[in-house]
């Protein structure tokens, strides 16, 4: 009964979000696209985090996807839609190859290595002048859907839905048990016969594909990319901050965090043209200090307290 209720809620929420273009103008749709892009990155980053691995490579794979898609269209004459799939596959392939080497690493050493790889991708794109356009980047001959706002919105939403779907699958399937076991106690997980490397590799490849796909959607929607835009450090730190503010190790937490920070940043900018980023930074500090479990963690705690209170009353 309860399960059914939550399914109805999800379907209703999805329907409302799909219908947004019917009652929202081009500006909110544009902001929504940006929020959704960050949301998908935050969720995909969290998926790997559930194994305890903190990746600093989000921006690297996002950028790699952007370039794979842009260059496939520009140099290979690929259809823009096909190029989005190609970018996801390419990012997955790169992650697969790299995974063999870097998934042995743990903690800070894994983070640093993924960060270094991101920088390497950027420097390569910046220096292959004839192929990748060098520091000035590449401009596509035309934008997907001719820049029609609702269509761009739905494309981005499609990418987000896919990410949420994969994340839910991770939560509901035995991936969840495996990743949680690795995070909580790797040694006992191993002795219980969990194939740690296999699950880490699946998670790394899947999240990289999603990040690459979002990069491709972004580049096709704006029609250009440069090394600085594609590998912007904001695509690294902001998804992490969003996931943490919302609540990590879940799908709903990063979503809440992305909505909170994404909308706060746009709203603050309009209210305080000069200096809004100070407030933005202070919000991050305050939330971490006073809500260390994130919004979702806070809600969970409140719910548990209420349930406990209810049980006491009985």
């Amino acid at each position: 009964m309860k399960l059914k209720g939550s399914y109805i809620a999800v379907v209703a929420a999805a329907a409302i979000v799909i219908a947004f273009p019917a009652f929202l103008g081009a500006y909110p749709l544009n902001v929504a696209r940006s929020v959704m892009t960050y949301m998908a990155l935050a969720i995909s980053w969290d998926m790997l985090l559930r194994s305890g691995q903190i990746s600093f490579g989000i921006a690297g794979l996002f950028g790699l996807g952007s370039y794979a898609s842009a260059l496939a269209v520009l140099r290979g004459g690929m259809n823009p839609f096909a190029s989005v799939l190609f970018a996801a596959a390419f990012a997955a392939l790169v992650a697969f190859a790299l995974g063999f080497a870097i998934l042995r690493l743990r903690a800070m050493y894994f983070s640093i290595t993924t960060l270094a790889l991101m920088e390497i991708f950027r420097i390569v794109m910046q220096n292959l002048h004839d192929f990748s356009g060098g520091p000035e980047g590449v401009v596509l001959p035309k934008i997907i859907f001719d820049g029609y706002s609702p269509a761009l919105y739905w494309l981005c939403l499609g990418g987000l839905f896919l990410t949420i779907g994969v994340s839910w699958y991770f939560e509901k399937s035995k991936m969840h048990l495996a990743l949680t076991a690795i995070r909580n106690d790797e040694t006992s997980a191993r002795s219980n016969g969990v194939n740690i490397f296999k699950y880490l590799l699946i998670a790394f490849v899947a999240t990289s594909a999603l990040q690459g796909m979002m990069g491709a959607i972004q580049v096709q929607s704006y029609g250009f990319t440069t090394p600085d835009t594609a590998f912007d450090a904001n695509f690294l730190m902001l998804p992490m901050a969003m996931a943490l503010l919302g609540g990590i190790h879940s799908t709903i937490g990063p979503m809440a965090g992305a909505v909170l920070l994404g909308i706060a940043s746009e709203w603050l900018k309009l209210k305080i043209p000069y200096g809004h980023l100070v407030v933005y930074g202070v919000i991050i500090i305050l939330v971490i200090l006073f809500m260390p479990q994130g919004l979702f963690g806070l809600a969970r705690k409140a719910m548990r307290n209420r349930r406990k209170a209810g049980a006491n009353n009985e």
Binding site: A26, E136, Q218, D228, T229, L270
Partner: protein
């Protein structure tokens, strides 16, 4: 879907209706407000709006400037355009600095076809993205290739006028990002062709991006023994590069920098003496241009600080150019104002009259030439073009003591 289309159509119809109805004439500006260029650009635009309003406005209506920060990001810049057009329903868009942001905004601009007065975006990639149909786009800032061509012309004329100045070998030090790379490409094609000059170059990592070591680059430059040493980087590179050049006893006859702005108080450093620079505006232009003086005095009075970047007078000009065109057209209707803008002849604070002519792809290019200036006694003096000259060049660059 149908409903969405209907709404888009209604919005599209509603915009001109709003524009025609009385009230204020709305100007939408996007600049990077966290950067000195965009901050002062938006401040100068506001100054122009206030001046025009104080003088009674345009067609009996007041001007209103609505500024949105583009945060130097393509997606934020695009969202800003969407907001200004669909929410604020502005009559005109202006502003801009970085080419990367402009590239992100162009799809949205194309969709609405509002008049745009661009104060930045120098990259030829932006022009490619615009295409030849964008007759609503008025680009005030010179394209990168315009700048290169104007320097070539400038050095030709300077060598003709001052026989002591002889340039054969040119060395370009360029920061490794988009700005430097574009300068290098333009310099190679414009100066390298025809065998008149010998051109060489080397890249460096700008201090603005965590670099700041110029040793290996200066070494190559010193070996090349250039007559003209030119660097394309940012204000953070200005003094450290001079200091390292001095330490390595690298003394070209002309030492020239082309950053978008200079550090606070660069002129007070001994090392700055006789350094040349490419630029668009300097306070010394107050002596040759009344508009420049009016702009400068107004800015200092209003904000208690000096305009430190040419984006300030450029943005100031954008407001006046639009206001003049609306006055001429007698309406804010797009096609009529485009017609009026095509007839622009604005004696700008940049010391030159701005009008719009065709560039490689677009029809409405404003300023095409830059200026060659020189630091003399702590002031930037214009040495070329000769019509806005404020001092004679000092040549050669002094050898280090």
């Amino acid at each position: 879907m149908k409903k969405a289309l209907a709404i888009v159509a209604i919005v599209a119809l509603a915009v001109p209706v709003f524009a025609q109805s009385g009230g204020t004439i709305k100007i939408g500006g996007t600049w990077p407000l966290g950067d000195i260029t965009g901050k002062q650009g938006s401040m100068a635009a506001q100054q122009a709006v206030d001046e025009i309003n104080a003088a009674g406005g345009i067609l009996g209506r007041q001007l209103e400037l609505i500024v949105v920060d583009d945060e130097l990001k393509a997606d934020k810049g695009a969202a800003a355009v969407e907001k200004l057009v669909t929410v604020d329903k502005v009559d005109v868009l202006m502003g801009g600095m970085a080419s990367g942001v402009a590239l992100g905004q162009i799809p949205a601009m194309k969709k609405y076809g509002k008049i745009v007065l661009a104060t930045g975006a120098a990259s030829y990639k932006v022009e490619e993205a615009l295409g030849s149909d964008a007759n609503w786009y008025f680009h005030l800032h010179p394209w990168d290739y315009n700048q290169g061509a104007s320097y070539a012309q400038g050095w030709d004329e300077i060598q003709q006028k001052y026989s002591a100045v002889k340039i054969k070998k040119i060395f370009l030090a360029y920061e490794e990002g988009a700005f430097g790379k574009a300068s290098w490409d333009a310099t190679k094609t414009l100066f390298g062709a025809g065998g008149r000059y010998v051109v060489d170059g080397a890249s460096f990592k700008s201090a603005a991006l965590g670099g700041g070591d110029y040793g290996s680059m200066l070494e190559v430059a010193k070996e090349f023994k250039p007559d003209l040493f030119l660097w394309a980087g940012y204000d953070a590179d200005a003094l450290p590069m001079l200091e390292q050049a001095k330490a390595m006893r690298f003394t070209p006859k002309i030492y020239l920098g082309a950053p978008p702005g200079w550090p606070v108080g660069f002129g007070t450093s001994k090392l700055s003496e006789n350094v040349m620079l490419y630029g668009m505006w300097a306070p010394s232009i107050n002596e040759v241009s009344a508009t420049s003086k009016k702009f400068y005095d107004g800015f200092v009075k209003k904000y208690k600080t000096e305009p430190a970047t040419y984006f300030a007078p450029l943005s100031y000009s954008a407001v006046y150019i639009y206001a003049d065109a609306v006055k001429l057209a007698g309406t804010t209707e797009t096609q009529a104002v485009i017609k009026a803008l095509e007839a622009t002849k604005y004696a700008s604070p940049l010391g030159q009259t701005i009008s719009f002519t065709a560039s490689n792809i677009i029809k409405h290019q404003g300023i095409k030439n830059q200026k060659i200036l020189q630091w003399q006694n702590g002031r930037m003096e214009v040495i070329w073009p000769f019509e806005s000259m404020t001092a004679k060049p000092v040549y050669p660059f002094p050898k280090w003591k």
